[in-house]
């Protein structure tokens, strides 16, 4: 097999399958009318061609052959990418021909998303023949681009990708950004087309150019000799700012604070509500991150704490249960002030954490996951049950949950106000996680996660720290539940099924176990994105599955892993290690004991 083809066939095959798959499940049709830029580039078309770009990128990777690193130079990179794209395009074409031959509507009886209409969309709204030609040509071009981008130096790659990524982000966040522009008192017409609601060509290109220039400008500034020498001189400069921070850090911090405080006023009421939900899941993610990310205890029943927080808040603040004939007083209820109730809820949730934790102390890994899954279900079943009807309303749930309002605020009906309440909770949870991470407790958890038996042998009481993890994680999760109760004003058991556990876990895993920034990004991507672009909503489960599988395969440490773990290890080191081991036929030994000066 000629070299480019040998590299190409696997990525091309996977890309082809991805294209067929996203089409067959209906994702493409859903996005056919969502325009990224102009009327030519719909998100559907981006989604169709992106796999081929990535395939070209993957095919051009550096490989290690017989102990030698093979880096592709530019012309070969373009060739390998193009071949990959072409093969991928050809595969899609074959499927298109096959579908056409069998008749799409017959297939549609089994795979309901497949139809003549879909065939048209996938053929770029052309006849089948033209569509196939387009697939081959565009496939080769897009694949070649993938290869070329891979072969660029990191600096050049950043510059080249800045524009397209800007357009991509602006397109995906079209609702958010256009609302923000409106709220700021401008008309978004210069950027977004009011008819397609996608970017205009002029606006999109202008934005891309501006961002590209900004990236180039920054790189030029950084590469000046004085700037390159700066890191060495930094200790002296560091003391010039306030309280040990550099002026630059102070400015960045101030901008961040203002942005966070102003956010709800910029993005509008509806999106503030979405962000509120994102923050509830940040709380769940942060709490679960302590259990799974820090302590390594795979908990699939985390919804228990969410439910507990919500119902306990409702009961302590004096909500009503729904009955068949209206509302009634629950069997137990205290009319406490919200801010008195919250610390009690948190403490009780920590107690529930101990309760959940103690029966599973001896279980590890898969067994722990299954038992906690069961415990989560027990909680869902309990709140739905007849037995608990008098207390929490059974299937009808509870209503009239109020509280927390101070003066003129209205957390329940004004998402902007709710945002600030959620912000306070999130900041508390962030502070807790951040402090714990690098403390004696955090180290004990990490040690336990890495190797429970060895942690024990090194003097750590694993029983104690497991219980502490469940209690702390549970307490933070209950805060999420309390927020949900306030946000909705009413509760039904439907809000507390196993999907919450799975979504919370996906939030933690997507961002990278143990990473606090990761939890925020994960929650924005999995909870926020569907709210920002409604078309995503239906496909969240699909996205969840795909994201989790892809991450397990490609980046077991997550997208934004806990940085200290990986910062020192470049790809290069690993390749070298593998090479050295293969060459020596044994584990690599120490190369040099000399420290770089």
């Amino acid at each position: 097999m000629p070299a480019p083809l040998a590299r190409a066939w696997k990525p091309a095959l996977i890309a082809g399958i991805v294209v067929v798959y996203v089409s067959a499940v209906g994702l493409i049709e859903q996005f056919a009318e969502v325009y990224a830029i102009g009327t030519q580039v719909s998100l559907a078309r981006v989604l169709l061609l992106l796999p081929l770009f990535l395939a070209g990128w993957v095919a051009t990777r550096t490989t290690v052959e017989r102990g030698e690193r093979k880096v592709l130079a530019m012309p070969q990179a373009a060739l390998s990418g193009a071949v990959t794209g072409l093969v991928g395009g050809a595969m899609v074409s074959i499927v298109l021909l096959a579908v056409d031959a069998i008749d799409p509507d017959t297939i549609g009886e089994v795979l309901i998303a497949v139809s003549t209409k879909l065939l048209g969309i996938v053929s770029f709204d052309q006849s089948l023949g033209t569509g196939i030609v387009l697939w081959l040509v565009l496939g080769a071009v897009v694949g070649a681009l993938g290869g070329v981008v891979r072969a660029l130096s990191p600096g050049a790659r950043r510059v080249v990708l800045a524009g397209p990524l800007t357009i991509g982000v602006l397109a995906i966040l079209q609702r958010v950004v256009s609302t923000a522009i409106k709220e700021l008192g401008f008309r978004p017409d210069f950027l977004y087309d009011s008819k397609t609601s996608g970017l205009t060509w002029a606006g999109g290109i202008a934005a891309a150019v501006i961002v590209t220039l900004a990236v180039v400008g920054r790189d030029v500034l950084r590469s000046r000799p004085e700037a390159a020498a700066a890191p060495a001189a930094r200790p002296a400069a560091a003391s010039t700012g306030l309280g040990g921070f550099t002026t630059r850090q102070l400015v960045q911090g101030a901008v961040a604070i203002i942005a966070v405080l102003a956010l709800p006023w910029v993005i509008g009421t509806a999106l503030s509500g979405t962000v509120g939900t994102v923050m509830i899941f940040i709380l769940l993610g942060l709490g679960l991150n302590i259990v799974v990310g820090f302590a390594g205890l795979l908990d699939l029943g985390y919804v228990a704490f969410f439910a507990f927080g919500a119902y306990a808040t409702a009961l302590l603040t004096g909500a009503q249960v729904n009955t068949t004939d209206g509302a009634g007083d629950p069997a137990f209820s205290l009319g406490l002030n919200f801010y008195v109730a919250i610390p009690i809820v948190v403490l009780l949730a920590a107690g529930v954490g101990l309760l959940v934790g103690s029966p599973v102390l001896r279980l590890r890994g898969d067994y722990l996951a299954i038992v906690t899954l069961g415990l989560g279900e027990v909680v869902s079943t309990l709140v739905t049950s007849k037995w608990a009807e008098g207390l929490v309303g059974g299937p009808q749930g509870m209503r009239d949950i109020t509280g927390g309002d101070i003066g003129p605020t209205d957390f329940q009906n004004n998402p902007r106000h709710f945002y600030y309440l959620a912000l306070v909770f999130v900041l508390l949870a962030l502070y807790t996680s951040w402090r714990l991470q690098y403390s004696r407790v955090g180290r004990a958890w990490n040690a336990m996660r890495e190797d429970e038996q060895v942690a024990d042998a090194m003097g750590i009481s694993t029983t104690r720290y497991k219980l502490l993890a469940f209690a702390t994680g549970g307490a933070i999760g209950s805060l999420g539940g309390a927020l949900l109760a306030i946000q909705l004003g009413s509760l039904t058991p439907r809000s507390f099924d196993v999907n919450v556990s799975i979504l919370a876990l996906a939030v933690v895993i997507l961002g990278g176990l143990g990473s606090l920034r990761g939890v925020m990004v994960g929650s924005l991507a999995l909870v926020g994105l569907p709210g920002f672009l409604r078309e995503f909503e239906e496909f969240r489960p699909l996205a969840l599955g795909a994201v989790i599988i892809a991450i397990m395969l490609l980046r077991p440490q997550g997208i934004l892993p806990n940085v200290r773990v990986t910062e020192d290890i470049a790809d290069e080191d690993r390749d070298q290690d593998a090479w050295a081991r293969a060459a020596a036929g044994q584990p690599a030994t120490e190369t040099s004991a000399v420290e770089p000066a």
Partner: protein
């Protein structure tokens, strides 16, 4: 000399296999006692019953005159017996420094509250943990110094992983240190360096050591006394020369069952 660790007729069986069959050993304060024996003789099992990983079926284990039988491993470590493992077991995703800091866990107290409000005593304690962990790492000179301390443990070379495991054990501030084949997998130069380090552990850190070792140059170079085991029983005990020339020991190593 006083015996700091005493084993009296310790037995441990796995199914029908007697891994330890009436082991009686006195470990004197300040000595280095080596344990040798062919594969499967029960040497690692000996470490595991001392440190609480396994509970012995019979017999007693006294540390400073108090029985440690039935204690959990973390309790034994807290009392002052620390160990390394035959197959290196680090916390691979944690940094080198953090690995050593975990060793200090049993000598410190800060909990949830201390983590959230890091003032006064917590802050001083954290500084002390760091200081002692660095000191434990620097027992091996520049091998685990400087930038290496910020690297995750899994990037270390094999020899350095073994050193880190020992540094972590030292960081628990033990009185008795158990080393399970500390030179396994090291090259000759590293092996000799470690031989000297084991002697320094006693001389500079004042530790009492029980060392399982296969490399006879190391055994010869560190041991005050040597015990040879076979089939779960001590078969010879004495100076290196006495044990190395014992006919039963030679027979055990040649793989024939000891006769008469």
């Amino acid at each position: 000399m006083t015996a700091i660790l005493q084993l009296n007729g310790v037995e441990k069986a796995f199914g029908g296999l007697k891994a330890l069959d009436g082991v009686t050993i006195d470990l004197n304060e300040g000595e280095i006692l080596s344990v040798i024996g062919p594969n499967g003789a029960g040497k690692s099992t000996l470490f595991n019953v001392i440190t609480g990983v396994y509970t012995p079926d019979a017999g007693n284990i006294l540390f400073r005159g108090r029985s440690v039988v039935g204690l959990a491993p973390f309790q034994v470590t807290t009392l002052g017996i620390s160990r390394t493992f035959q197959n290196v077991h680090l916390f691979p995703q944690m940094t080198v420094l953090e690995n050593a800091m975990v060793g200090q866990h049993c000598r410190t107290k800060a909990g949830l509250f201390g983590a959230l409000f890091p003032f006064g005593s917590t802050r001083r304690e954290e500084a002390r943990i760091r200081e002692r962990a660095v000191a434990a790492l620097e027992f091996f000179g520049t091998r685990l110094a400087g930038y290496r301390q910020r690297q995750p443990a899994y990037v270390l070379s094999y020899a350095n992983r073994r050193r880190l495991e020992m540094a972590r054990a030292i960081a628990t501030e033990p009185t008795v240190l158990l080393l399970d084949e500390p030179t396994a997998g090291m090259n000759p130069r590293e092996t000799l360096e470690l031989r000297d380090n084991i002697n320094r552990m006693r001389d500079e850190l004042g530790l009492t050591l029980l060392v399982i070792e296969h490399d006879m140059r190391v055994v010869k170079g560190v041991s005050d006394r040597v015990i040879a085991m076979d089939y779960g029983k001590p078969i010879a005990e004495g100076t290196y020369d006495e044990v190395a020339n014992d006919p039963q020991v030679i027979a055990a190593y040649l793989g024939t069952k000891a006769v008469g």
